[in-house]
Amino acid sequence: MTMILNMLTIFISVALVGNYVFSETLGICPFLGVSSKPSTALGMGLAVTFVITISNAVTFCVFHYLLKGYEYLQTVAFILIIASLVQLIEMMLKKMLPSLYQSLGIYLPLITTNCAVLGAANNAIGNDLCNGNFILSTTYGFSAAVGFTIAIVIFAGVRSKIDNADIPKYFRGVPITLVAAGIVAMVFNGLLGGIKLG
């Protein structure tokens, strides 16, 4: 029961309150780059969810069983793991779920350079709520990714409205996108104070 409660707390605090894009400012590059259409944004979000969940599970095992006493190798080892994992997942999907592979397209290899993946792995290790627990660490990764998906899909919706809006000439393109991102982030910060993380 405590376990389920902990999982729920982690989910709400990481996916909504401490949203990776809006509060932690992680994964901004794909957030701005792949949010022009809601459908592609959802594809990117699903791919990220897939990779972060698995990478969190693997990095947890590596950190706790391989890097005992050599914790300072964490970042190097994690980058290595994430890059190989993305490759591996790409090959597996190509063989086993070609339809999913095609709909994810180029977003899958792009995730290698998504800092939210490394951020989620690092934060799950140092987080008090996760408490060195495998299931909770994986839940942490999954929640972070769901938060990323929510953020990017919502923002893609906002951007599709921007496309049809009459915007002053000098604000068109990147400036209005950044302004809109700031406003959406402020809305999300309204959730702060609901639940405090650890």
């Binding site: 590596v62 391989l66 890097l67 050599y70 190798l73 190097v76 080892a77 290595l80 793991i81 190989s84 490759q87 591996l88 090959m91 597996m92 190509k94 063989k95 086993m96 070609p98 049809n164």
Partner: protein
């Protein structure tokens, strides 16, 4: 010794992890390798690569796959010329099929002030959006909206808006049909590339009504229908249309039309050229 240990062990750990994942990836690339017919890539290189979707498949890659599987014929690619399709037949080792080159034709002549406007449109620069606002700013319910949704969608950049009517550049047009589905007024039709005549109007209003808002609308006077020597023209729903299969390009309809909306194009040095600039219609008729 201690220093050496402090260096070697982390190196061994990271090296070990990399080696492990390297081997894992090498094994995985064997286990999860997907056999791909090399003909797919060869055929893909022969296709235009615009991913226009005119063939009914998701893109050039999907069509190449369908061709290799035998599900589709190479002539499905309307964007390729017969010349470009030849190597595909050679790769597949199948008999060549006839390929009719098509072109898009915008069936509206209402340039500039020839066709009346009912309001000043200042909304989003998109024909579909404009057409939803009282059918667009033209009084004519079937006229070109002229905001260039077809031009924006054309994967070959073959359409331009000239004086508020979309005009197709025949040299660039590959007949993929993307514009046909993009036009909210259904004004664009695919016709065989060498078709000589077409009627530049799709107004289905009765003659006097059409005349009240457009100087170049078909008033269904049937002069073209009566004078056509091969019976290629028919007037249905108060607008004339030409059957390109029957048309012999004799030019009689062009001369007879009192509204001057039957257009004509000729082949000159391998390029298709519209023979005359638009003529002002006779104000008496």
């Amino acid at each position: 010794m201690e220093t050496l240990k402090a260096i070697l062990i982390p190196v061994a750990i990271v090296g070990g992890i990399s080696l492990l994942f390297g081997i894992l990836l090498a094994v995985a690339s064997r286990v999860f390798s997907v056999k791909r017919d090399e003909r797919i890539d060869k055929i893909k290189n022969c296709l235009p690569g615009a991913n226009c979707g005119g063939c009914g498949y998701a893109g050039c890659d999907a069509l190449a796959e369908a061709i290799v599987k035998g599900e589709a014929s190479p002539v499905k690619c309307s964007a390729s010329s017969a010349e470009n399709l030849k190597p595909i037949f050679a790769i597949m080792g199948i008999k060549e099929e006839a390929h009719v080159r098509m072109r898009a034709q915008v069936m509206c002549s209402g340039t500039g002030e020839l066709s009346k406007r009912k309001y000043r449109y200042e909304g989003a620069h998109d024909c579909v959006a404009a057409a939803k606002l009282g059918g667009g700013d033209r009084v004519c319910p079937n006229g070109c909206v002229g905001l260039g949704t077809c031009a924006a969608r054309c994967p070959f950049g073959a359409i331009k808006i000239i004086d508020r009517v979309a005009v197709v550049d025949y040299d660039q047009c590959r007949g993929c049909g993307v514009c046909v589905s993009a036009c909210p007024k259904h004004l664009i039709t695919l016709i065989p590339y060498d078709s000589k005549h077409w009627v530049g109007c799709k107004s289905v209003d009765k003659g006097p009504i059409t005349k009240s808002y457009c100087d170049v609308g078909c008033i269904s006077c049937r002069l073209c229908e009566k004078n056509c020597p091969v019976g290629a023209i028919s007037v249905n729903d108060f607008v004339a249309s030409i059957d390109n299969a029957k048309c012999i390009g004799c030019d009689i309809c062009v001369q007879k039309c009192p509204r001057k909306i039957i257009w004509s194009a000729d082949s000159q040095d391998g390029h298709l050229v519209i023979r005359r600039e638009f003529l002002k219609p006779d104000p008496k008729i």
